[in-house]
């Protein structure tokens, strides 16, 4: 698949960003220790949705998130990203799809210490286009301004607080204007005050960028504040609640 096709995929005015059809995931296939951790997951995530994925530890949340982020492949079933089936795509194509359409926010921010704050934000763009031009740098600075860290652009990630680092990682996730933003317990490592400010930021950007957001969280306050809550228990979605006040 060419880069052109990916961009065309992204530009599709398709309300359904993510569609899962009977997604199953097993480990140690063919061995006595074979275990199925996801048992046929089905759901749709539309553009503009702000959903939470909750569930106890070991329920398969991280596995599902990795599959949604095209970092891992399901054992069976089909995942459609912006209407495009992904199961038969090569690693190269999945990488390109991920680069253009998915933004990640990790629990431990995972910024690259060797680069400045601004370079970290621009990294997904630099991976694709090489040296950033003035316009791209301005865009990166604008994102840093939106997360309130414009003055820290020259600093190294380690010079920032945990909350600031997470805000930089949000700016990084949004730099490519992705259709889907996946956040793996983005507030799990932050104090209550910082956690709520980071969450508010995600909500604001979700509206501004009109992307679909899926947050994996253990925090009931965060899941309650989302427009939709998917509950995963023992590898199956046991409930899919929508909260009217958010829609």
């Amino acid at each position: 698949m060419s880069e052109h096709n990916h961009i065309a995929t992204k530009d599709m005015q398709n309300d359904c960003v993510l569609q899962l059809r009977n997604i199953k995931k097993s480990y140690n296939i063919g061995q006595p220790t074979e275990v199925e951790v996801l048992h046929g997951i089905d759901f749709l995530l539309d553009r503009g949705e702000f959903a939470a994925l909750v569930g106890p530890s070991g329920s398969g949340k991280s596995t599902l998130l990795n599959i949604l982020g095209l970092l891992d492949q399901p054992t069976s079933g089909e995942l459609f990203l912006l209407g495009l089936p992904t199961s038969s795509l090569s690693d190269e194509c999945l990488t390109a799809l991920r680069r253009h359409n998915i933004g990640f926010v990790f629990q431990f921010h995972h910024l690259i210490e060797a680069f400045s704050v601004l370079d970290n934000v621009l990294m997904p763009m630099m991976i694709t286009h090489g040296k950033p031009d003035a316009e791209t740098r301005d865009w990166g600075m604008h994102l840093l301004e939106l997360v309130g860290l414009k003055n820290t652009f020259r600093k190294k990630p380690s010079e920032l607080s945990g909350g600031q680092q997470q805000r930089v990682s949000i700016a990084r996730a949004l730099v490519t204007r992705p259709a889907l933003l996946l956040a793996d317990e983005p507030t799990g490592n932050l104090d209550t005050h910082t956690a709520s400010s980071v969450f508010e930021m995600l909500r604001r950007f979700h509206q501004e960028f009109s992307c679909a957001v899926l947050i994996v969280t253990h925090d009931p306050r965060i899941s309650q504040a989302c427009s939709r809550t998917l509950t995963l228990v023992d590898g199956s979605i046991i409930s899919d609640e929508r909260h009217p006040r958010e829609t």
């Binding site: 990795n66 982020g69 970092l71 891992d72 690693d91 190269e92 990488t95 390109a96 991920r98 680069r99 253009h100 990640f104 990790f106 995972h110 690259i112 210490e113 060797a114 680069f115 990294m123 997904p124 630099m126 991976i127 694709t128 090489g130 040296k131 990084r172």
Partner: protein, 401 residues
């Protein structure tokens, strides 16, 4: 490629201590290679120069006289030969003038000089020394051995009645330029000559025995009128001397020996030096390669999580591969450049403050060769760690602590 280079540089700069240590290792390795190779090349050039400065590259002589055995009666017959080996008398090369012309026309030959050479005694007063008379045509012989550059007294003049002798012979007979001495050959032939010059070639055998005379005078003294017993040659490429010598032997039917055959021990020594310097270079290069590989392998482990993040953000496997290959290349390039400079400094120190037995002639070819080789070694050494990095599963890599 910009982002790969950028990431590679940032990774190297971030692990600065590690980077500096491996760069020192590479620099030391490359400086050893540069210095050893330059030293050995210089030493060899010096040895060859000294050896070939006083002798021809090829000597052509008549074939030795051999007894011709009668053929066996039948091919199956057992033949027992009892023979006395023939005494080798001084003989001229048949038709040497034509041979000379033929040799001059052969490719790769730069100078040809006919010589008549034979034994005699040099006498002054009661003192007698066994000498070797060398009758030459000076303008031809000077192209083979530049005797005039090694004169310590008088001049290189072998016109009739004059002789040029070695420094040790002059010392033994108490001769100075302008003195006369008697040369006595076999069959009571003798001549009185004036010492016109004294040379010092730095070779004991030559300095104590050689007496240079005009070709015609030597022919008369040795009773070899119109003869040449040896034809000496120089060739353009000294290491092709054996090949040319074989060609001469096969085309002229004469005995032809190259300097390599005459100095086989020297050649052996040169080859051994070559081999030992190649071995040293090889093992140092292998150590450098393993050094780079191990540092990059550690770097891959240290940066596993960052690799995972980069992959999650859409970095292609090939890009990750290039990041580490570039690191290997940069380490090789920078390390070898510094190492070459250090190697050159060592050469300079050797020339300035060393034993001064000989000077190492600088050969700049080794610098780009070393830098290219070390850069290539860096890339090759980086292949395994780079491959490992590119194959990391992003999910596992991100979780790596």
């Amino acid at each position: 490629m910009w982002i790969e280079l950028n990431i590679a540089l940032k990774f190297l700069r971030q692990g600065l201590t590690q980077t500096i240590l491996i760069l020192i290792g590479i620099s030391v390795g490359v400086s050893v290679i540069v210095f050893i190779n330059t030293l050995i090349t210089g030493l060899q050039a010096n040895l060859i120069d000294r050896t070939l400065g006083t002798q021809a590259h090829i000597r052509v002589e008549p074939r030795p006289d051999l007894n011709i055995a009668a053929r066996p009666v039948t091919p199956e017959a057992v033949q027992i030969i009892v023979e006395d080996l023939r005494a080798q008398k001084l003989r001229s090369i048949n038709n040497w003038q034509q041979v000379l012309v033929a040799l001059e026309g052969m490719p790769g030959i730069t100078a040809v000089s006919p010589i008549v050479s034979g034994p005699a005694f040099a006498r002054r007063g009661d003192a007698t020394k066994a000498v070797s008379i060398v009758g030459i045509i000076p303008e031809r012989y000077e192209k083979i051995v530049k005797v005039s550059d090694n004169m310590i007294a008088g001049r290189f003049d072998v016109s009739p009645g004059n002789a040029v002798i070695g420094s040790m012979l002059a010392q033994d007979l108490g001769l100075k330029t302008g003195n006369r001495m008697r040369l006595e050959a076999s069959d009571n032939r003798s001549a009185v000559v004036t010492v016109s010059g004294i040379f010092d070639l730095g070779v004991r055998e030559l300095d104590s025995r050689f007496v240079y005379l005009d070709l015609k005078q030597a022919q008369a003294l040795l009773d070899l009128y119109g003869a040449a017993t040896v034809i000496e040659l120089t060739v353009q490429d000294i290491f092709s001397a054996s090949e040319i010598s074989e060609m001469i032997a096969s085309t002229t039917g004469l005995k032809s020996e190259s300097w390599m055959q005459i100095n086989s021990q020297l050649l052996n020594a040169l080859q051994s030096q070559d081999m030992s310097s190649s071995m040293i270079s090889f093992f140092v290069a292998v150590s450098v390669a393993f050094g780079i590989a191990s540092v990059l392998a550690i770097s891959v482990t240290q940066r596993t999580r960052e690799i995972g993040i980069l992959r999650a953000m859409g970095t292609r496997k090939a890009q990750i591969l290039r990041v580490f290959l570039i690191q290997g290349a940069l380490l090789g390039l920078i390390g070898s450049f510094v190492g070459s400079m250090v190697g050159w400094s060592l050469v300079w120190v050797f020339n300035e403050f060393g034993p001064k037995l000989f000077e190492i002639a600088p050969s700049f070819d080794i610098v780009p060769a070393s830098v290219s080789l070390a850069t290539l070694t860096g890339i090759l050494a980086a292949i395994a760690p780079a491959w490992k990095a590119s194959k990391l599963d992003p999910v596992t890599a991100i979780r790596y602590v």
